[in-house]
């Protein structure tokens, strides 16, 4: 492993450990306040945890492991931010306002001891890389948000970090500026060790090899990007992937929820179920139909819900509802005409019926 990290910070209820191999980009997904920025702050050396340890493997031969910090077992080793090789790119570009774009990018090489001329040549190279060379002479105040963020990417890369930390780099950009930056990031993050905090599923798909979902200070699930988004095990990942997620116990034909409801679905063909194991059923809102009235008996894949919200979703209406004692949130997509016919309003008792062919069942 090239980068190994483990830390706890009780004041923020933060307990995480993660590893990165060489050239790997990991996306950290999670709700606000889950500890994503805390993670980056601790790695960069801007925030000190109560305990933990982090090492960075050598860039090529791996025999020169560097310790970023080690607060375990009585040692108080804490390397300052400027010796860590972990450049941080934040939501705001934070370009130094008194320097032009070129000198901003040259800042890292200059700090590493390069001559003014050599640093500027490096800066020109990286500005070209992020398609911002024509902006070299401009002051940050003369740059748009997207331009500034591209220059900030060049500045971070020019410092030759061993690990690049990106804290929601696209969040402050308007929708027109984000695609260009995403394309630039896709190119420069290739074969580079990076951690990108985001809440955009598109960033995870395009930029990351692996996804880590964090919830309330610890890791809820992790795995290859595709697998996490197609087979989510956490509610947050399911929400990102636009899927409903129901947890329960596996049976031969699906799962049984804690309140005794049966969810029939298709098992993952690569896996043979062990009855009694904890599992989840995932299904898209488009597979859910809405019917009025009471449920008689307990037919399969049919359950009573209370509508909480109605909102437009493309050319459909998304019906958000809560089900059962667990108050589980579920949603259905129906046509506006159907919604009008049924006279749906928040607070109404209806029935959700899910087509079992569209329910995926897998262990959690």
């Amino acid at each position: 492993m090239s980068f190994e990290f483990q830390a706890s910070l009780a004041a923020r209820n933060f307990h995480m450990s993660l590893n990165l191999s060489d050239g790997e980009t990991v996306a950290i997904l999670g709700p606000n306040g889950a500890g994503k920025s805390t993670l980056l702050g601790v790695i960069a050396g801007l925030l000190r945890p109560d305990s933990g340890k982090a090492t960075m493997g050598g860039a090529t031969n791996g025999n020169s492991n560097r310790t970023l910090f080690n607060l375990d077992g009585g040692t108080r080793l804490w390397s300052p931010p400027h010796l860590r090789g972990t450049a941080l790119l934040a939501q705001d570009a934070l370009l130094f306002p008194h320097l032009n774009a070129l000198d901003n990018v040259a800042f890292g090489p200059r700090s590493a001891g390069a001559s003014k001329r050599a640093a500027r040549e490096t800066a020109q190279h990286w500005l070209t890389e992020v398609e911002a060379l024509p902006l070299a002479g401009r002051k940050p105040a003369q740059l748009s948000g997207g331009q500034a963020q591209r220059v900030a990417v060049a500045r971070a890369l020019a410092a030759e970090p061993e690990l690049l930390l990106l804290d929601e780099p696209m969040a402050a950009l308007d929708i027109h500026a984000a695609p260009l930056l995403r394309r630039v990031l896709k190119r420069v993050l290739q074969d580079r060790k990076a951690i990108i905090v985001t809440h955009d599923v598109l960033d995870a798909y395009m930029l990351a090899d692996r996804v880590i979902v964090v919830e309330s200070g610890s890791i809820a699930e992790e795995g290859p990007t595709r697998r996490v988004l197609e087979r989510p095990r956490s509610h947050f990942a399911a929400g990102l992937a636009g899927l409903n997620l129901v947890t329960g116990t596996l049976t031969s034909e699906g799962i049984t929820t804690p309140d005794g409801r049966v969810f029939a679905g298709r098992h993952d063909p690569e896996w043979s179920p062990l009855p009694g194991q904890a599992g989840v059923a995932a299904f898209p809102p488009s597979s859910v139909s809405v019917f009025p009235g009471e449920v008689h008996g307990s037919p399969r894949n049919s359950f009573p819900v209370v509508i909480t919200d109605l909102e437009p979703h493309g050319d459909q209406i998304r019906v958000r509802a809560r089900s059962g004692a667990s108050e589980q949130a579920l949603s259905a997509d129906i046509t506006p005409a159907a919604s009008a016919d049924l006279g749906l309003v928040p607070g109404m008792d209806v029935r959700f019926v899910v087509k079992s062919a569209l329910v995926s069942v897998y262990p959690s």
């Binding site: 972990t86 705001d92 800042f107 700090s111 748009s144 971070a156």
Partner: protein, 271 residues
């Protein structure tokens, strides 16, 4: 008034009346002094030997104390704004004390520190260094009263700038000293400049602590305010003329720092 604002300001009209009285309290005495100036004799009065000596000494000592304020005040402002250590609030309170202390009291305190019988004065005297009643004493007295102006102004600038840029600079590999030189100081330069200008102005006007600690020796410790006070007894016209010189310097200083602030307007973003 050049232009009447088009947006609602919400200030009751009686406030304008009281504000006008307040403004008059500052402006009227200056007008009264202007009326008293003996214009035909103005140039000879301010270029007399003693006047030029006092003016020269004032400018030199104020420049020296401003430099001393910057050298000592920048680190003080940095540790007060960014540091976290026990006794920080107490240190701030003590640094700001000279703002509210009568300058005469400051002069007495300095005398018991650097005077011949003082805390540091005794060993210094033994080493052959005498500070009290010298030009050095003038500079120390001025620094004592002017330092808080620089610290307050710079600490405010440091606080409002925050340390986001410093954090980024550190992750880019810059050592703390590099961050201070290439990021922090350039960012707070306007605050530092206005603090330095205020310190210079305060040094130039210093009277009480200087008289107590440094005395009034012509060409050595008799700065312009001391010269004005002495002249007032014997030659009122000279005192008024020199006062006008100090007013002119003060107006120039305030204008300079205000002009500085006006230039820092944001630039239009180009697509």
């Amino acid at each position: 008034m050049k232009r009447i604002g088009s947006s609602y300001h919400g200030i009751p009209s009686w406030v304008f009346v009281i504000a006008g009285v307040g403004g008059l309290l500052v402006v009227l005495p200056l007008v009264a002094m202007l009326a008293k100036v003996n214009w035909p004799q103005f140039i000879p009065l301010i270029t007399s030997e003693s006047s030029l000596a006092a003016l020269g000494l004032s400018l030199r000592t104020s420049a020296a104390s401003t430099v001393l304020c910057i050298v000592l005040g920048v680190p003080l402002a940095l540790v007060l704004a960014r540091g976290e250590f026990p006794g920080q609030r107490l240190l701030r309170a003590f640094v700001l004390l000279p703002l509210v202390l009568p300058p005469v009291v400051g002069g007495i305190a300095l005398l018991y520190t650097f005077g011949r019988q003082g805390l540091l004065g005794k060993p210094l005297e033994a080493a052959g260094i005498q500070i009290a009643f010298s030009t050095t004493a003038v500079v120390l007295a001025q620094t004592f009263v002017a330092l808080p102006f620089l610290v307050v102004s710079l600490e405010g600038a440091l606080r409002s700038a925050g340390n986001k840029y410093e954090a980024v600079a550190a992750t880019l590999g810059a050592r703390p000293t590099t961050v201070l030189r290439r990021v922090t100081l350039p960012l707070v330069l306007p605050g530092l400049a206005s603090g330095a200008v205020l310190s210079f102005a305060r040094s130039l006007g210093e009277f009480g602590a200087t008289l107590t600690f440094a005395g009034s020796l012509e060409g050595v410790t008799r700065t312009l305010p001391l010269e004005i006070y002495l002249q007032r007894e014997t030659d009122a016209d000279a005192a008024v003329a020199l006062s006008l010189v100090l007013v002119a310097v003060a107006v120039a200083v305030v204008g300079l720092s205000y002009g500085n602030r006006q230039r820092n307007k944001p630039v239009e973003v180009q697509p």
